[in-house]
């Protein structure tokens, strides 16, 4: 799915959160959304997924106006993975949670195909053994994978992920990002993911958007836009660069005293 965001603005009361943000993601691309805390990354993802209504601007999916699209139709196109959930109290098990991802497709009436898709996704996310475990009995990382699986269960054309690897250990961070990359390459699913790991953005992203104070500060291939100056301007961190197997790695320089 091609996504086009043009001059998107979002204000909370008088505070400007997003200021004329424009992006274009071709179908099947993996875009890392980067920036310091409070830069407007989550707000941008929520505006695209329909959770927040932008103050002005345009969002188009394959040339169709996403903002004017009926909520259910939009939900069929987009898979959203939130940063935080209240899952502990829900009492649902993993299977029920993943199946609930099919809601927008079938108005709540599930058929065998829905169950097969849910099982397929559970296998893809390595969650088959936890299918009947309650969400409140899972670790933060396992729960995170369940919510990614729920978004994947609708077989969306675009995935919007708010820090999808924040609770995952090294193995599952890599597995999750590998899977998302595979989705983008093989199934042409467009991925827009907020990442804090700049090296992961370089390794997996075709594009990266660096947000600062609600504006797109830099936009382009991650390796090109993540220079020492950009990292200092956005994060106020001094970074060193190491080159390994033809890839640049960013190493933040720790404070070593005076």
């Amino acid at each position: 799915m091609n996504l086009r965001v043009k001059d998107l603005c979002f204000r909370y009361k008088t505070r400007v959160i997003l200021d004329k943000v424009s992006l274009e993601l071709p179908s099947g691309s993996f875009c890392a959304l980067l920036g310091a805390n409070g830069a407007g990354k989550s707000t941008l993802i929520k505006c695209i997924s329909g959770i927040l209504r932008p103050s002005s601007g345009e969002i188009e999916a394959d040339g169709e106006d996403l903002l004017g699209m009926p909520q259910r139709k939009r939900a069929r196109l987009l898979g959203y993975v939130p940063q935080n959930t209240q899952a502990e109290a829900s009492g649902l098990n993993v299977m029920e949670t993943v199946l609930s991802g099919r809601l927008a497709c079938h108005e709540g009436r599930l058929n065998q195909q829905d169950r097969e898709i849910a099982m397929e996704v559970l296998e893809e996310m390595n969650l088959g053994g936890l299918a009947f475990r309650g969400l409140n009995q899972l670790s933060g990382g396992e729960r995170q994978r369940v919510f990614i699986a729920r978004a994947m269960a609708r077989r969306p054309k675009m995935m919007l992920l708010d820090e999808p690897t924040s609770n995952l250990d090294l193995r599952y961070q890599q597995e999750t990002l590998d899977l998302l990359k595979q989705l983008s390459v093989e199934k042409r699913v467009t991925i827009l993911a907020i990442l804090h790991d700049l090296n992961a953005a370089i390794a997996y992203g075709d594009q990266a958007a660096l947000l600062k104070d609600g504006k797109i500060f830099r936009w382009g291939p991650p390796e090109e836009i993540l220079g020492e100056r950009e990292i200092w301007e956005v994060f106020q961190v001094r970074a060193a660069f190491a080159r390994l197997e033809n890839t640049n790695y960013i190493v933040p320089r720790p404070w070593k005293g005076k």
Binding site: K46, L103, G108
Partner: protein, 361 residues
């Protein structure tokens, strides 16, 4: 056969697990239904009038079953006009309160919520108090006027809660907070009414607030049945939506749920059911809180399952509580509201301790 279809493959194992899980859930439902039939049966044949299954059969089929003495006309009247409507009303009231409790917990994201979270019980009690204190009549009947007074005040309370909460976008916290505020407001008005009441009126008001099924009639039962027949299927059809809502408003919106509409319509239906129950039976607490929790303990968190399960458990709990109330100190009848609280409070505290223990363990 594809690799996934091989017996013993992860997919096959998962399919088997799903089948076992479904069988367990069906077994649970059958068990709960059987318990309900048993409670209804015992309730039907327990009480001051000696109505036994044998005597009922002798009345219905005198030629085939002549081992027992048939029921007298008075006993038939007791069975058909007092005991049966009482049992059916108890069951329907339990269904309404339990479903209402579960849905309120889902739409407010608060497992301590009940149908009365929005202040409805105190509003209804205030409506009944006004009628009793000012001796108002509707079509010559004080009882009918009491029902209408309680019902209209409960509806007014609902409109106030949702009207005020709508200003702030109908968030779950706003609904609960406005409900608590109005609860205190109507409680104060109710206290004012009791202050104005004379001894006889005060006794009538207090009696009403106990919650009782003794005034149940077939007409009231039919009215409640119609209300539930409209509301419960609608609420049951939203099981998936409540499932999504329990994982957060944002997730639900992104999944295509119109959260604002769901919260408003569900809340209004819960209030309509609870107002109908309260106006006929008085305030019966705890069913709406305890039944959904027992359903969750037995069957997990899927609202497609626990909504009908809560309904059955709520109905059964109320019929069982009324049975205890009618028989424990017979011929004195202890109001069902009191018995439910006696059973419900320890059960609820136990549930809280069990849940807290799990959290901290």
């Amino acid at each position: 056969m594809s690799g996934h279809g091989i017996s013993g493959s992860p997919r096959e194992q998962l399919r088997r697990q799903i089948a076992i899980y479904h069988r367990k859930q069906i077994g649970l439902f059958i068990l709960v239904i059987l318990v309900g039939i048993a409670v209804g049966y015992i309730s039907c044949f327990s009480g001051v009038a000696q109505v036994t299954p044998g005597r009922l059969l002798a009345t219905l089929f005198p030629k085939i079953w002549n081992a027992s003495q048939p029921l007298s006309p008075t006993e038939i009247t007791v069975l058909l006009q007092l005991r049966l409507p009482r049992i059916v009303m108890g069951f329907l009231a339990g269904v309404g309160l339990a479903v209402g409790g579960l849905v309120m917990q889902a739409i407010t994201g608060n497992q301590m919520a009940s149908p009365f979270t929005t202040g409805l019980s105190n509003a209804a009690a205030m409506g009944a108090s006004v009628v009793i204190v000012f001796s108002l009549r509707f079509m010559g009947s004080l009882q009918l006027a009491t029902v209408l007074g309680a019902f209209s005040m409960a509806l007014l309370c609902m409109l106030l809660v949702y009207g005020i909460a709508a200003v702030k976008g109908l968030g779950s916290t706003t609904i609960v907070l406005v409900g608590i505020a109005l609860n205190y407001f109507f409680s104060a008005l109710n206290a004012g009414m009791q202050y104005l009441a004379n001894q006889e009126q005060l006794s009538a008001i207090v009696n009403w607030t106990f919650g009782s099924l003794s005034q149940a009639t077939w007409k009231q039962t039919a009215f409640l049945f119609v209300v539930l027949a409209v509301c419960v299927p609608y609420l049951a059809s939203k099981g998936w939506h409540y499932n999504l809502l329990t994982t957060g408003d944002e997730s639900a919106v992104a999944m295509g749920v119109n959260v604002r509409r769901l919260r408003t319509v569900s809340g209004l239906m819960v209030t309509l059911m609870a107002a109908s129950v309260v106006s006929f039976t008085g305030v019966i607490g705890f069913v709406g809180l305890v039944a959904p929790h027992i359903a969750r303990l037995l069957s997990g968190g899927d609202h497609r399952r626990i909504l009908p399960l809560s309904a059955l458990l709520g109905g059964e709990l109320l019929v069982a509580a009324d049975l205890v109330g009618r028989t424990i100190a017979s011929p004195v009848v202890v109001p069902v509201g009191i018995v439910v609280s006696f059973i419900g409070v320890p059960l609820f505290v136990w549930l809280i301790l069990k849940e807290r223990g799990g959290d901290e363990g």
